[in-house]
């Protein structure tokens, strides 16, 4: 019998090791897996690659993640703290302690989608003619220039959704889905925290992400982002 619901955080986070690549969902305060991110920070791993829309949100969730060289590489669309003074993660980047790949948000989303869909690369019009894609492979189609973008995958994806069932089927509330539904397809192990577990199972028509993409589900109340 399939049962993807795990009983505690340790079971949810099992197997995440140093040097892992980890996708983290969330846009602003919606869909941020706060409980899982804090657990990740407490694991004292090093050499992590984090793939997330905005570094600030994850830093607000657990500032310790950016301490002690835990994060080695970041792939993101926004690497800026909220204050005029540089945030811890900005200082680390300026000091050369972590490397950064900054992407347009649509390219970020589509590279993850491609990673989960068996598409190794695609041509995009976004960022053509900017410093971001200088020296990269480009090609013209119908008179317009496009740049080659490669798929993104990861060892783990951490998500938050509203509801799940034992099969790992997910229902998102409001704007919770954001990058999470694509990240779940592009990661080898997807771990989801949810507000509710449906004992009777989600109705097929209300499933936003089929359980085939989800390996573990943990029930966890929504926590405020800023501890």
């Amino acid at each position: 019998m399939i049962n993807k619901v795990v009983g505690d955080l340790a079971a949810a986070m099992a197997g995440i090791q140093s040097d892992a690549s980890i996708m983290i969902s969330g846009f602003s305060n919606a869909g941020v897996p706060t409980t899982l991110v804090r657990a990740l920070g407490a694991m004292n791993l090093t050499g992590l690659t984090l793939i997330m829309n905005a570094a600030r949100r994850i830093d607000e969730c657990d500032a310790s993640l950016f301490n002690d060289r835990r994060v080695d590489h970041v792939i993101t669309t926004a690497f800026r703290g909220p204050e005029a003074a540089p945030a811890n993660f900005e200082q680390q980047w300026k000091r050369g302690e972590l490397s950064l790949e900054i992407l347009p948000q649509g390219t970020f989303a589509e590279r993850i989608r491609a990673g989960g869909a068996g598409i190794p690369a695609f041509f995009s019009p976004t960022a053509v003619g900017t410093s971001l894609v200088e020296g990269r492979e480009q090609r013209d189609f119908n008179g317009q220039t496009y740049v080659l973008e490669e798929a993104l995958t990861a060892d783990f994806a951490l998500l938050r959704a509203q509801k799940a069932d034992r099969h790992g089927n997910l229902f998102f509330r409001g704007t919770q889905a954001n990058f999470g539904s694509a990240m779940a397809t592009a990661a080898r192990t997807t771990i989801v925290e949810v507000a509710e577990i449906s004992e009777t199972g989600l109705r097929p028509e209300e499933i936003h992400l089929p359980g085939i993409y989800v390996q573990r589900v943990l029930q966890a109340p929504r926590q405020d982002q800023i501890a």
Binding site: A55, L100, G106, A109, T126, Q162, T175, H208
Partner: protein
């Protein structure tokens, strides 16, 4: 909202932030699908004529953003791209970021209104990297929006705080997109970009053409029917 009476500020008074947003909002057509960038652009939603039905897109996954939620009534899992707790209008839908950017990149949005550091006369836009010595970079959705939307409108002050021109022959800041800006609303004028030329459509009363040219770092063409740029008093008297 109802339109307040036209203001009568001293001649040559630049528009306020709200007035620039108001002017940009007057060009949003009935039935338009529109994405508003952070800062001044989002203010435009307050000033679109009430009789027009406009769908606001938020790149985190909403088509049909409604008013900001009343205090205590918002859902923290329902936010717009500016992190505000919002409501959904009649006919709204929510979706994931992949679908949202397919909508953007696929050319389905009618207009995006964005802020900018600089706009060049050839339609180049620079609005993502301020070349700060201390702060990290932030691209967000601006490169996709400016490449994908059918029309790209910019709201920005005509000059920097130090008085340097923001409308230039060639951008010195890193580019967001090449050649995609159609229209610029500043605190002094409304300009269209046509065949690599800045064409002044409206100018504030009391500002001479040579005075506008002196704070612009690219040649200006004044439209034959160039009008006065007049906005209502939106800031409780000046």
């Amino acid at each position: 909202m109802s339109t307040p009476p036209l203001s009568t500020p001293p001649l040559g008074t630049p528009l306020t932030r709200n007035q620039m947003a108001w002017r940009a909002a007057q060009d949003l057509a009935d039935g338009a699908y529109v994405n508003l960038g952070l800062g001044m652009p989002v203010l435009a939603a307050n000033y679109a004529p009430a009789e027009r039905e406009i769908f606001y897109h938020s790149e985190n996954g909403i088509l049909g953003v409604g008013p900001v939620a009343l205090p205590g009534q918002g859902d923290p899992e329902l936010v717009d791209a500016g992190s505000q707790l919002v409501t959904l209008r009649d006919g709204a839908s929510v979706f994931d970021s992949v679908a949202s950017f397919a909508m953007i990149r696929g050319g389905h949005l009618d207009i995006t209104i964005l802020g900018a550091f600089q706009v060049a006369a050839n339609g180049d836009l620079a609005n993502w990297d301020a070349l700060s010595a201390e702060k990290g970079p932030l691209i967000g959705g601006a490169m996709d929006l400016s490449m994908g939307a059918k029309a790209v409108h910019i709201i920005m002050r005509h000059t920097t705080r130090e008085g340097e021109a923001r409308l230039v022959t060639a951008c010195s800041y890193p580019l967001t997109v090449r050649g995609r800006v159609n229209r610029v609303y500043t605190d002094l004028a409304v300009l269209d970009i046509e065949q690599g030329q800045l064409v002044v459509r409206e100018i504030i009363p009391g500002l001479r053409h040579d005075e506008l040219a002196a704070v612009t770092d690219a040649p200006l063409t004044f439209a034959a029917d160039c009008r006065e740029l007049i906005a209502p008093d939106l800031d409780g008297g000046i």
